[in-house]
């Protein structure tokens, strides 16, 4: 990060005036806890005793044989709640508690971040309200039930495209109205500073563990690390500790029905610079600067923006960004389930699909770590209804 809250030219704080005091308060609270050993030990204890960290780095002999390289999965699907999202919500909820906030609000797409927020709300005793697009509530009905079971209130969002982008809009509108006692617990490395920084730091535990684990097992660094990119939190979480290593980093976006059809969510592959939800980053937009509707088979990647640090890492070419399309994702969903007995979230299946599509890029001895950001139970009903997975 060069200037405060900036990643190259990207990042910043593009919010309405009412939220500025909240961001200033948040930044100072976060700065305080980030050097506080008590906060660190509280968080580490919760990660170990409650969330189930560290997560395994699983070698996959069957998939390795089929794909012609050494495949390891970083098992964020085994984190309590079923995805990496809890890494972030635990950190932010502890912070909210320190700040004396009385209420947590969140947005959710796939429902995984909503579930992870509902979990911390129940565990730490803070009321939770989750904004969720009506379309996503239908796609991810199981997660709506889970959130409500844990005491969170799920508020349907009926404006705009009724997906993740509009859920964030509504959460921001709620925050402006209730800014004094409400904490907005954002679910990815998006939004205004300090969110991209804070969420990245909370998610970096993934990469720190993976780096140590692979060195322990293989006595060397991997050749490539692959992760799916929606807002970009699981990807930056695993990439960040490898940034200064000689390791290829690959972020995989949702190609949807194909980038040329316009029905996709491949922000870094097909977008350009723009400002949405408080940050300057890549954005899917039309000529006039209106944000475009997106499509992805996975609700968690269905977002027209992306974290500003990824925008910088694309421009400086440290990370390679690619896209895979819905049918390839379904193949990967089936492939990993059959070959390894691990059902990936449709989001994470994008990363698996990339490796399946690009086997020629890897040699037999190459070590490839795929970030398995979540488990696929939430997607089973939806995929079954498509009848393409039989």
């Amino acid at each position: 990060m060069t200037k405060k809250g900036r990643y190259g030219k990207y990042g910043g704080q593009y919010v309405s005036e009412t939220l500025m005091s909240a961001l200033i308060e948040l930044e100072s609270a976060y700065t305080n806890v980030s050097t506080d050993p008590q906060f660190a030990s509280d968080l580490t204890a919760l990660q170990a005793e409650y969330a189930g960290r560290e997560t395994p780095l699983t070698f996959c002999p069957n998939a390795s044989g089929k794909l012609g390289c050494k495949i390891y999965l970083k098992r964020e699907d085994l984190v309590h709640g079923g995805s990496h999202k809890l890494n972030n919500t635990l950190g932010q909820a502890l912070l909210a508690k320190r700040m004396g906030k009385k209420r947590l609000i969140a947005e959710t797409g796939a429902g995984q971040h909503g579930v992870a927020t509902a979990i911390v709300g129940a565990a730490l005793g803070i009321p939770v309200e989750v904004y969720m697009g009506e379309v996503d509530m239908r796609r991810q009905a199981l997660n709506v039930f889970r959130m409500e079971l844990m005491g969170a209130k799920v508020i349907p969002v009926r404006c705009g495209t009724r997906t993740l982008k509009d859920a964030i809009n509504e959460a921001l509108r709620d925050w402006v109205a209730n800014v004094r006692d409400t904490y907005y617990l954002i679910g990815s490395v998006v939004g205004p500073h300090p969110y991209p920084l804070m969420v990245r730091n909370f998610q970096s535990v993934i990469g720190r563990e993976a780096r140590e684990q692979v060195i322990r097992k293989e006595r060397r660094l991997p050749d490539a690390v692959v992760a799916c990119v929606g807002g970009g939190s699981n990807a930056i979480g695993i990439f960040y500790p490898f940034l200064s290593d000689d390791v290829e980093l690959i972020g995989v976006e949702a190609g949807g029905k194909g980038i040329n059809t316009g029905k996709h969510s491949a922000t870094l592959c097909a977008g350009d610079a723009g400002v949405l939800h408080g940050t300057l980053s890549y954005l899917l937009q039309d000529e006039q600067g209106q944000v475009l509707p997106t499509h992805s088979i996975s609700a968690g990647l269905d977002y027209p923006g992306v974290g500003p640090e990824h925008a910088m890492l694309k421009d400086n070419r440290r990370v390679t960004y690619a896209a895979v399309n819905d049918p390839e994702v379904l193949d990967a969903f089936r492939f990993l389930s059959r070959t390894e007995g691990i059902i990936p979230a449709l989001e994470s299946a994008h990363a698996v699909a990339y490796v399946m599509q690009n086997t020629e890029r890897f040699d037999k001895d190459d070590i490839v770590i795929i970030n398995l950001s979540g488990r696929g139970d939430k997607d089973v009903a939806e995929v079954a209804a498509m009848k393409v997975c039989a």
Partner: protein, 268 residues
């Protein structure tokens, strides 16, 4: 002196600032709406540039943005509307926009086109003073007043920073929350007006939630230099979408009533 300053210094009573979304429900009707607002006595006209994701706005203005975008309103349309109003009126015109619209067009180009069309001020809803250096420099070169929001949560330190960069007037946000009609006037907003007054001699206009003559009078008595009405105007537009003649009549009557309420000598 610019048109905004002229109007504000020339008026003994608080001014009426009327907002509508440019291109809502379409270009032609929007020009008629602007004409009706001006005929009723609107002192400063604010035009919202429609955006797909208006996070500072409540449902009424969100829907107006959708109607305007449905009618294919672009910044070029907005400037064409301003030019058309300029052929018949010298009313100061302020654009309210979100930053991506400006960024996408190019800040230089947006402000040049705005200036050429006859725009007097621009408020970017999601541009806090900390991010505004480049925009303010360009605005000043184009002789366009950068208008800023101040809210109940703005600290005294930031009020000073904002007042140092703002021109024209300061836009005080009367409520915590998004745009939309509210029933009550909060005491905290009156405190805000007094607090800001201590730091600046810029005119103070207050908006968000104001719709009735009684509310306008509360602000006039509290010493506001202007009241801003948006959602209440857009609601009249929305109610009369099928009958533009009735829309025009109702808008003009509404503004006339609000203006009457603001005349200093009439204050109860």
């Amino acid at each position: 002196m610019g048109r905004i300053e002229e109007v504000l210094t020339g008026s003994k009573s608080p001014v009426f600032i009327g907002f509508t979304v440019a291109g809502d429900p379409d270009k032609t009707t929007c020009v008629r709406i602007a004409r009706a607002l001006i005929a009723g006595g609107t002192d400063i006209l604010e035009l919202g540039v429609p955006f797909s994701d208006p996070v500072a706005d409540g449902p009424t203005i969100q829907k107006a943005d959708e109607r305007a975008l449905g009618a294919k309103t672009t910044p070029a349309t907005v400037f064409a509307i301003v030019r058309e109003i300029r052929t018949e009126s010298d009313v100061p015109i302020v654009l309210l926009t979100y930053y991506n619209i400006v960024y996408r067009r190019g800040i230089e180009r947006f402000y040049r086109e705005a200036h050429d069309a006859g725009v007097d001020g621009i408020l970017i809803a999601d541009m806090p003073v900390e991010e505004s250096d480049e925009v303010c420099n360009i605005a000043s070169r184009r002789d366009i007043a950068p208008i800023f929001l101040i809210s109940q949560t703005t600290s005294d330190k930031r009020i000073k920073k904002i007042a140092a960069k703002a021109r024209g007037y300061l836009y005080l946000v009367a409520v915590l929350g998004v745009t939309g009609v509210r029933d009550e006037v909060s005491g905290r907003a009156i405190d805000l007006l007094n607090r800001v007054r201590r730091h600046t001699s810029l005119p103070l206009a207050i908006g968000f939630g104001i719709s009735t003559p009684e509310q306008a009078q509360i602000w006039a008595r509290a010493g506001a230099d202007g009241v801003i009405v948006g959602s209440a105007i857009v609601e009249i537009v929305e109610r009369n979408l099928k009958d533009p003649d009735a829309m025009e009549r109702e808008l003009k009557e509404y503004v006339t009533d609000m203006k009457k309420a603001l005349i200093r000598d009439h204050l109860p």
